[in-house]
């Protein structure tokens, strides 16, 4: 567990990150510190990358049942650059706008990445939520049918992004539950 070159972030970079993300100054600096501790030795932080395992083992993500999906959605070529980590923290921050959160929630929940949340995806979501293998088949099917009958407007047995957005925009709890605090300084 080496450390990056200990360099302070330039003021212009900090300003730019503040303008491009929803994070506050303190949050960006905290994430910078965490990143420096984790990334390999001798590299400048802008060029260093973290592996998916390293990000999955962050305290904020360690116990999240969707952490593999989160890492897949936010990483590029299976590694995280510093800017990828910042983008991830920005989407999950308090101040992010609902449209951004809904957009990324859809991507995270689309397990087979075909652009729709279909029954297979719903099944995987429910099993991950409950994290137990002794969920009865009936409960699962019943639940999936209920979800589809509520939100599937065009009767194709899948949730498109617009249908998902329509359902989640009315859920006031969605914004509250789709938040992660990455700073642990």
């Amino acid at each position: 567990m080496g450390q990056c070159l200990r360099s302070q972030m330039h003021w212009e970079d900090l300003e730019e990150y503040q303008a491009l993300t929803f994070l506050t100054r303190n949050e960006i600096l905290c994430i910078h510190n965490t990143f420096l501790k984790l990334c390999p030795e001798g590299k400048y932080y802008k060029e260093a990358t973290l592996t998916v395992d390293q990000v999955s083992s962050l305290p904020a993500l360690r116990v999240n049942p969707f952490r593999d999906r989160i890492c897949r959605v936010f990483s590029h070529d299976n590694v995280f650059s510093f800017e990828d980590v910042l983008s991830m923290a920005s989407v999950f921050s308090e101040q992010a706008c609902p449209s951004l959160k809904i957009e990324y929630a859809f991507r995270i929940y689309d397990f087979n990445e075909n652009g729709f949340i279909d029954e297979e995806d719903l099944q995987k979501i429910v099993l991950r939520l409950l994290n137990s293998d002794d969920v009865s088949e009936d409960l699962l099917m019943d639940l999936i049918q209920h979800v589809l009958s509520e939100s599937d407007l065009d009767n194709d047995n899948m949730l498109s992004f617009t249908e998902f957005e329509h359902a989640m925009a009315k859920s006031p709890d969605f914004m509250n539950s789709f938040r992660i605090h990455f700073w642990r300084c």
């Binding site: 730019e16 360690r62 049942p65 920005s90 957009e103 990324y104 605090h181």
Partner: protein, 704 residues
């Protein structure tokens, strides 16, 4: 017109079998066909020089439409949204921001108006950021939300909000009441025993050597030295301008509290009203918002998973119950309603007993204080003076679990149960406070009988209560102190020992003792009750907001300590959305209820003749018309016009018209939304039908 052949559902796999759509038919599935539509291209666009989302599976397919993507690129790059809101990678956002800045520079250099509007927008953003960073304890509240969920976080943010209200009220008191009192010089001391007027004499015992225990008891009950101090109404001298500022302070405080609470509740209301058909999307919400992403800690996670399973099972059971209930026979329905009516009667009976008890205890407490044996033992005197507070706290502690039990017998769904229990508890707490005040009122005004023996001469019971405003203030002060003492006592003597017991005793007993939960609804109602007490009492006890600020500060740190040291997340996840809507509403109800006794005292009860700034006046309000008469003539006319019917009736008419117009507008919007939604659904079904035909034709031509 050609005959449209029936589409073959087998072309894209039977529904509900969990079959991956990719496996059906020659590589062309419904999803892949729909992904080629121009709307899908726009949705999946991820910025310049970035692959569109989901393009990994499409590499081998030449179906990717470069034209659609180019159109999407054109549209998105000129997107007027701020760069941070775009779901693109950082580099793409950078490019977009540079474009935006360049355009804005061009726009602002072209016109001065553009330049100034740009500067205004920038300064507004900067002030918003500064204000957000000024909020104290923001980090703590976020941390609590991360570990214990949204419901607990809403409690602490409500606590911070009430702290702000109390700080504002204290600042107002300092400027409008304390400053005018001390400006002309030190106010006079209490009238001694020698001074007696038509309405009796008033002698708060402030001088002389008193033993230390008596000092302590005086501090706790607001008597003795504290009775003639800036804490209570009686102390303030009868200066003309002090009267005006005192009244103005009361109204300004009420107005500011009303505006701030309205502002806070409007955002919660918007969220709740937005769900046009809340019950119809509850399953989607439960599945997609069930996991609180902020949870960390393996123990909490396991607990949360158990809770989600439990909730989903309960939801499905309730759906089955609802279906069964719809098919109930008349006899069964009648039985259910009979049971509900009986239980409601039981609840009303319990509430009636509680209120009658509060009334009687307050009366007895006043009478017991006259007995000589009580007067000689300070400890007994203290207990007697605290009797109303003790009774109210006991009732507030005992009855809500009973309501809980009754709620479970009524046969409503779980969510209905919770709402009913909360409503009953709110009713209990707020009305018992009003009953206490009613009991005091009947002591002060001899039961409203202006011709009674004791009240004939002065309009109030001058023998027992020479300075009745101070007496009311003392009751509110005692309620505040007792509330704080019970919170401290429960934390120290119940919660911490229970946690220690859990640590020492292994096994089931330890686990039972240790699973302490932070009960959000009860705690929030306690906060609202405490704030209502302060609102009622601040007219009679002007320094009460200052004391309440200190109390809430103490409470914040105490609850935070208790939470982190002893509690685990609540078993029933309390929906934060309900908290946003329901609790500010109850706070508003508390504000209005607290206005009733204060306004009644201002307008209808004669002020004490031997103490307070309004001594000698007919009513407290009478000061205002007198002061208005000293203003110049035009100002007088304006103020008197505001009080006439010629002003009130047109105002009422105009408000009613505006309200009717808004309601009609909302109705028409709702109809428009339903109409548009139907159209969208129809169009979507058309599109899906066509896509399914395309898939069917594709697989047919593939097999041929």
């Amino acid at each position: 017109m050609e005959r449209i052949l029936d589409w073959d559902p087998a072309a894209w796999g039977p529904p509900g079998r969990g079959l991956a759509p990719q496996e059906a038919g020659a590589g062309r599935t419904l999803a892949s066909v729909l992904n080629k539509l121009p709307s899908a291209a726009t949705l999946r666009y991820r910025g310049p020089e970035t692959l569109p989302w989901g393009s990994l599976e499409e590499e081998e397919d030449e179906g990717r439409n470069p034209q659609a993507l180019a159109n999407a690129a054109q549209g998105e790059l000129q997107d007027p949204r701020p760069s941070r809101e775009l779901p693109w990678p950082m580099q793409a956002r950078r490019v977009h921001r540079k474009n935006q800045d360049r355009e804005q520079e061009a726009y602002s250099s072209r016109s001065r108006v553009g330049h100034w509007s740009l500067q205004l927008a920038r300064s507004k953003e900067k002030t918003k950021e500064v204000l957000r960073s000024l909020q104290p304890w923001a980090w703590t509240v976020k941390k609590i939300g991360g570990q214990f969920g949204g419901g607990t976080e809403s409690y602490f943010s409500l606590l911070c909000f009430l702290l702000l209200l109390n700080v504002l009220a204290s600042v107002l008191v300092a400027c409008m009441v304390l400053l005018p009192t001390w400006l002309p010089g030190a106010p006079p001391g209490p009238p001694g025993i020698n001074v007696s007027s038509l309405c009796g004499s008033y002698n708060p015992h402030t001088s002389g050597l008193i033993a230390f225990p008596s000092q302590l008891f005086n501090l706790l009950s607001g008597e003795g030295y504290l009775e003639w101090s800036p804490l209570f109404y009686g102390f303030y001298p009868a200066h003309g301008y002090l009267r005006v500022t005192y009244l103005c302070w009361v109204f300004a405080n009420g107005l500011i509290c009303l505006l701030l609470i309205l502002r806070r509740s409007v955002s919660g209301l918007k969220q709740t009203l937005l769900a046009e058909s809340g019950t119809l999307t509850s399953y989607s919400h439960r599945v997609f918002s069930a996991w609180d992403f902020g949870l960390c800690g393996a123990v909490h996670v396991r607990l949360r998973q158990r809770i989600i399973l439990y909730e989903l099972q309960v939801e499905l059971e309730e759906a089955a119950v609802r279906r069964k209930a719809a098919g109930r026979t008349l006899g069964q329905q009648a039985r259910v309603w009979l049971v509900r009516a009986l239980l409601n009667l039981l609840v009303l009976a319990l509430l009636g007993v509680a209120f009658y008890g509060v009334y009687k205890v307050t009366e007895e407490s006043g009478q017991l204080q006259e007995k000589t044996i009580v007067q000689q033992t300070p400890l007994l005197q203290l207990v007697v003076s605290y009797l109303p507070s003790i009774f109210i706290s006991t009732v507030n502690f005992v009855l809500p679990p009973v309501f809980n039990l009754i709620g479970q017998l009524e046969g409503y769904t779980r969510s209905h149960q919770i709402v009913l229990i909360l409503l009953r508890t709110v009713f209990l707490r707020l009305i018992s406070l009003l009953v206490l005040l009613f009991s005091l009122w009947s002591q002060i005004t001899c039961g409203g009988n202006a011709q009674a023996e004791a009240c004939k001469d002065c309009g109030y019971n001058y023998r027992e209560l020479p300075c009745w405003e101070t007496r009311v203030g003392q009751e509110m002060y005692k309620l505040l102190l007792f509330d704080l003492l019970t919170s401290l006592a429960i934390a120290l003597f119940v919660q911490f020992p229970r946690k220690i017991l859990c640590g020492l005793c292994p096994g089931a007993l330890g686990r039972w003792a240790g699973t302490l939960e932070f009960q959000v609804p009860d705690e929030v109602l306690g906060l609202i009750y405490a704030q209502t007490v302060v609102w009622v009492g601040s007219f009679f006890c002007p320094l009460l907001p200052l004391l309440n600020t200190a109390k809430f500060l103490l409470l914040f740190y105490l609850k935070k300590l208790t939470l982190f040291a002893t509690c685990s997340p609540a078993a029933r996840t309390f929906r934060a959305s309900m908290a946003n809507f329901f609790f500010p509403l109850v706070l508003l109800v508390g504000l209005f209820l607290s206005a009733i006794p204060v306004l009644y005292s201002i307008f209808l009860i004669q002020p004490s003749k031997v103490c307070g700034p309004f001594r000698g006046k007919e009513s407290i309000w009478a000061q205002i018309p007198e002061s208005i008469e000293t203003l110049p003539q035009t100002a007088q006319n304006f103020f008197f016009f505001l009080g006439t019917q010629a002003f009130a009736v047109p105002l009422l008419l105009i408000s009613s018209i505006l309200m009717a117009y808004t309601v009609a507008l909302a109705n028409s919007y709702g109809r428009l939304i339903s109409e548009l939604r139907r159209q969208i659904e129809m169009e979507s079904r058309n599109k899906v039908f066509l896509a399914q035909r395309a898939v069917a034709l594709g697989s047919q031509s593939g097999t041929l």
